[in-house]
């Protein structure tokens, strides 16, 4: 009987442990690169559709996913925007507490209205921002974004903009928490965003 009692205890302990592990009770591991310590994200004000100002810090209370690109970008930007749109679909109700912001690195060609219309094709909730080159420059600098205009003489494209294609994750307190490189999956974007929506 005694051995049986011990056996029972072991089984109960195992079940308890199983539920702990099964619930993934270990601390969350970010899929993106974590910014440590989380500093306040550099604030900026740029222009949205119809020229109304958009201030990043006014979005506190929401998780902001920030991306820099341009509307003529045919491969990298659509890929990222489609992945973010898919991630937002996965988030369900948590998507209400997110704001996806796309800042153009090609203000000469992209008006605020054109930028906004471009991103809204992927998700009507996305926001596209532009401004004068003088307004965009410090924002790029603050986030460490490289954007270099390159003429493509042998292409109908005219010129392209080589640009950093990171996705910046800013939590609900306005702190810059993580960076995701180009090519992360929609699942990874959804996972980190959901964590920040629920834990910041």
């Amino acid at each position: 009987m005694k051995t049986l009692f011990h056996f029972k205890t072991v089984v109960l302990a195992l079940i308890a442990g199983a539920f702990l592990l099964g619930g993934c009770a270990q601390p969350y591991t970010f899929r993106g690169t974590v910014i440590e310590p989380p500093n306040p994200a550099p604030d900026f004000t740029l222009l949205g559709a119809d020229g109304q100002p958009f201030q990043l810090s006014a979005k506190k209370g929401k998780v902001v996913l920030l991306f820099f690109g341009f509307t003529r970008c045919p491969d990298v930007c659509p890929t990222t925007m489609a992945d973010v749109a898919s991630a937002r679909t996965q988030l369900g109700d948590d998507a209400k507490n997110t704001e996806v912001v796309f800042v153009t690195v090609d203000p000469e060609r992209d008006t605020p209205a054109a930028t906004d219309a471009y991103v809204k094709r992927y998700d009507p909730g996305f926001v596209g921002l532009s401004g004068t080159p003088e307004q965009i420059e410090p924002v790029k600098k603050a986030f460490g974004v490289t954007a270099i205009k390159r003429d493509l003489p042998n292409s109908k494209f005219g010129y392209t903009v080589d640009h950093s294609a990171f996705l910046y994750l800013i939590d609900k307190q306005g702190a810059w928490r993580a960076i995701m490189p180009f090519g992360v999956s929609a699942d990874d974007i959804a996972s980190d965003t959901r964590y920040l929506v629920r834990n910041s």
Binding site: L4, F7, K8, V11, L14, I15, G17, A18, F19, L21, G22, G23, C24, A49, T71, R72, C73, P74, D75, V76, P78, T79, A82, D83, A85, S86, R109, T111, A113, A114, D116, A117, Y118, V119, K120, R121, Y122, D123, P124, F126, T146, I148, R150, L152, N154, S155, K156, F157, T160, D162, H163, S164, A165, F166, P181, F182, G183, A186, D187
Partner: protein, 171 residues
């Protein structure tokens, strides 16, 4: 004793399945087109519209956007014989079609036209995918909605021409 053994099994099952990752997806596809030794599989074009936002665009903005609508087509091209080169492509869906690639230099994505075409190795394959080689559609003649398809004619140096129906998808 028997019940305990069952409980043990249940416990280990919970442990095993609790934090399970997602299974990878693979699918063997029938070629979309075959010409000579060249086989094209899984051609797709990214949708330029997911059905949202158009209502918010005024007519003047739409006109301004028209000449800048870009698209990209992706596929896998394999050769079961000698090496070949994809020299170019054409479609009714865009004014100009070019072959481009993207080079990732420390996170800075640099898109460039491909000089001399995209090489298909002998008895090998080349993958055209986001963030890499793609067939760029410059000046789309219409919005590409998911579910539509685009006829794309590919010109190979040795195998000649092949036309594929590329599915329009959001991802």
């Amino acid at each position: 004793m028997k019940q305990f053994r069952i409980l043990l099994v249940v416990a280990s099952m919970i442990i095993l399945t609790g934090c399970g990752g997602s299974a990878g997806q693979t699918s063997a596809e029938a070629p979309a087109a075959t010409v000579g030794d060249v086989r094209i599989t899984g051609p797709w074009v990214r949708a330029t519209s997911m059905g949202g936002g158009e209502a918010a665009t005024s007519t003047s903005d739409t006109a301004a956007m028209d000449d800048v609508k870009m698209g990209a087509a992706y596929m896998v091209i394999a050769s079961s014989g000698g090496a070949d080169t994809l020299l170019g492509a054409s479609t009714d869906a865009a004014k100009t079609v070019e072959l481009h690639t993207v080079v990732d230099q420390n996170g800075v994505m640099q898109m460039r036209p491909v000089e001399g075409g995209i090489q298909i190795p002998a008895n090998g394959k080349v993958e055209l995918k986001p963030g890499g080689y793609h067939v760029m559609l410059i000046g789309l003649t219409k919005d590409l909605q998911a579910g539509d398809s685009v006829d794309l004619t590919l010109q190979f140096e040795k195998a000649g021409k092949a036309t594929v129906k590329a599915q329009v998808r959001s991802q």
